[in-house]
């Protein structure tokens, strides 16, 4: 049983070699990036390898980095048996963000991917039902992208600089 991050890194390095980039451990959670071509094989390796057994998809979300022209899709996996978490990131081009769906591995990915699509416009390929989930269907924008301001831009009394932000 792999119980520490170092053992996990060894296992992953053995299988995927240098496909793992930006390996860090902020606050004890192993974090690394892979490309979108490798993400499904990495996720299914993490899920199905009996030694590490990441059986649970805790969270799936995205982060927009406009200065890198990137949207990062972030997966949090949890191995309940080993009591260890791992964070996997995939950086996508913000112009055409698309990535393979994880619905085949975890059913919970269905709604979390719909939420990520709704707020960031990430297209999850082969998703069974990729529709907006929290916003209305004809919203037209993906509101969590950083270019959209919080307040109505037409209001003169609520400029961000008045509030120091």
């Amino acid at each position: 049983m792999a119980a520490t991050n170092e053992q996990l890194i060894d296992l992953l390095a053995e299988r995927f070699g240098d496909k793992l980039t930006e390996v860090t451990q902020p606050y004890g959670v192993l974090t690394f990036s892979v490309t979108k071509n490798d993400i499904l094989s990495v996720l299914s390796f993490l899920k199905e390898n009996g030694k590490i057994d990441f059986n649970f998809l805790t969270d799936l979300t995205a982060v927009h980095y406009p200065d890198q022209n990137a949207i990062a899709v972030v997966y949090h996996l949890h191995s309940m048996i080993n009591g260890i978490r791992v964070r996997v990131k995939v950086f996508l081009n913000e112009a055409h963000p698309s990535i393979e769906t994880a619905c085949g591995l975890w059913k919970s990915a269905n709604w979390m991917e719909r939420e990520t699509f709704d707020f960031f416009g990430v297209k999850f390929e082969n998703h069974p039902d990729l529709r907006r989930i929290l916003n209305m269907d004809d919203l037209g924008v993906h509101p969590m992208l950083k270019q959209y301001p919080l307040e109505d831009p037409n209001r003169v009394d609520k400029k961000d600089e008045y509030f120091g932000r």
């Binding site: 969270d59 309940m80 059913k107 509101p143």
Partner: protein
């Protein structure tokens, strides 16, 4: 009696289906949910859940607010147990900033969190009873939720959306009246809970309505991302309080109740037993608080903990820190963190990315109601409409947490 098996077939002569809009506002759904159901008689053939009716863009708002102003947003996630959300957020920020919390504060937080867990479970379990026709039990136990709110009122001044505590501790010490109220609650609540259980646990009507209804296997529950009492009712003993203890939960002696079949009856029993465990945790915590130095209610971190008003007016340093904290000019490290607490419905997670600025670069709430609810439409297929209603009650879906 297996409700999950559809009875209709393709060559059924009575195959004309009825479409029913259950919600968005419907007295039986206890919240703003819409389900468009296709019915064959009283049996559900297929369903589509539509959510987002009270979406308030908390994640977007949080990107524009300093850390301490995000606490009131967390109140409005699962508003049946706001203090757990508040504490979860405070602990996330404290972990990010590396603040050590004194034991007494940890224990006080445990008392508050377990009280709100009881309040949350009271709501869910009494509403299962209410939806199966037992109004008496609903009214009987619900008054203890009121008593818990009175305790919160004494501790922080608010009842429902509490905004309880601060980053670095509590905003004020818990006074003697609050402790007296907690003691009174601990004396009266077990009696009522015992009676509640004796009214329902072996009640023939209640068992017929709930046992064997909406069974869920462990594999299904894990695949759909279930956590909390729902997951434990299927027999998986996963509880964040034990697997990743926060707020000194490792100092307490308690058990994680699990069910076997994941049906509504098991979920009900798991929640009831969790209330007993919570009562025991609160008793242990009160004993531990007596051993800790009196009057400690926050960590000694002036750079992050908002000082008292009399210090701000009379003390230069306090004034400076007050200004810096209110303007959000605290030194937060450039990092990312995921912190989870055991909420009333399951694993409530905060994924916070800080770029060192005054606001989070990105904050994502892992909301258990949202993830638990994704199975509902699929589960309902082949179920009787009346069973689907109590199934929804037993999942304890809170609209605020569902939609964020």
């Amino acid at each position: 009696m297996n409700h999950n098996q559809p009875v209709y077939t393709d060559n059924d002569p009575q195959s004309e289906l009825v479409t029913l809009n259950l919600g968005p506002t419907h007295p039986a759904t206890h919240g703003v949910f819409q389900n468009v159901l296709k019915l064959d008689g009283e049996r559900i053939v297929s369903g589509v859940s539509t959510i987002g009716y009270i979406h308030r863009a908390f994640e977007k708002i949080a990107e524009h607010r300093p850390f301490y102003q995000i606490t009131p947003l967390t109140d409005r996630l699962n508003y049946c147990s706001s203090p757990i959300n508040n504490m979860g957020w405070h602990m996330t920020v404290e972990k990010l900033l590396g603040i050590e919390i004194p034991k007494r504060v940890d224990y006080l937080r445990v008392v508050i969190m377990e009280l709100s867990r009881i309040a949350d479970h009271i709501i869910c379990n009494t509403i299962i009873a209410q939806d199966t026709g037992a109004t008496t039990t609903f009214l009987y136990l619900f008054q203890f939720r009121e008593h818990i709110y009175e305790i919160f009122e004494e501790i922080c001044g608010a009842r429902l959306t509490t905004n309880i505590g601060r980053i670095g501790g509590l905003e004020r010490d818990v006074n003697d009246i609050a402790f007296a109220k907690i003691e009174k609650f601990l004396k009266e609540f077990p009696v009522a809970l015992k009676e509640f259980e004796s009214l329902l646990n072996r009640n023939r009507i209640f068992i017929d309505r709930t046992k064997g209804v909406a069974c869920v296997s462990q594999e299904m529950a894990l695949s759909y991302g279930w956590t909390g009492p729902l997951l434990r009712s299927t027999g998986v003993d996963y509880d964040v309080r034990v697997s990743e203890p926060y707020s000194s939960y490792q100092d307490f002696d308690f058990e994680i109740p699990v069910g076997t079949s994941g049906d509504i009856y098991d979920r009900f029993l798991v929640r009831n037993e969790e209330m007993w465990q919570s009562v025991s945790i609160i008793r242990q915590a009160l004993d531990k608080i007596k051993l800790e130095p009196k009057g400690v209610f926050h960590a000694d971190v002036p750079a992050f903990y908002l000082p008292g008003k009399e210090d701000v007016y009379n003390n230069m340093e306090a004034l400076i820190y007050h200004f810096k904290i209110v303007m959000g000019e605290i030194d937060a490290p450039k990092s990312e963190i995921y912190h989870a607490v055991e909420g009333g419905n399951g694993e409530l997670g905060f994924y916070l990315i800080s770029d060192g600025g005054r606001t989070p670069y990105r904050l994502h709430f892992r909301r258990p109601s949202f993830i638990n609810y994704s199975m509902f439409a699929k589960m309902s297929e082949g179920m009787l409409l009346s069973d689907a209603i109590i199934n929804m009650s037993s999942m304890n879906i809170i609209a605020g947490e569902l939609d964020a």
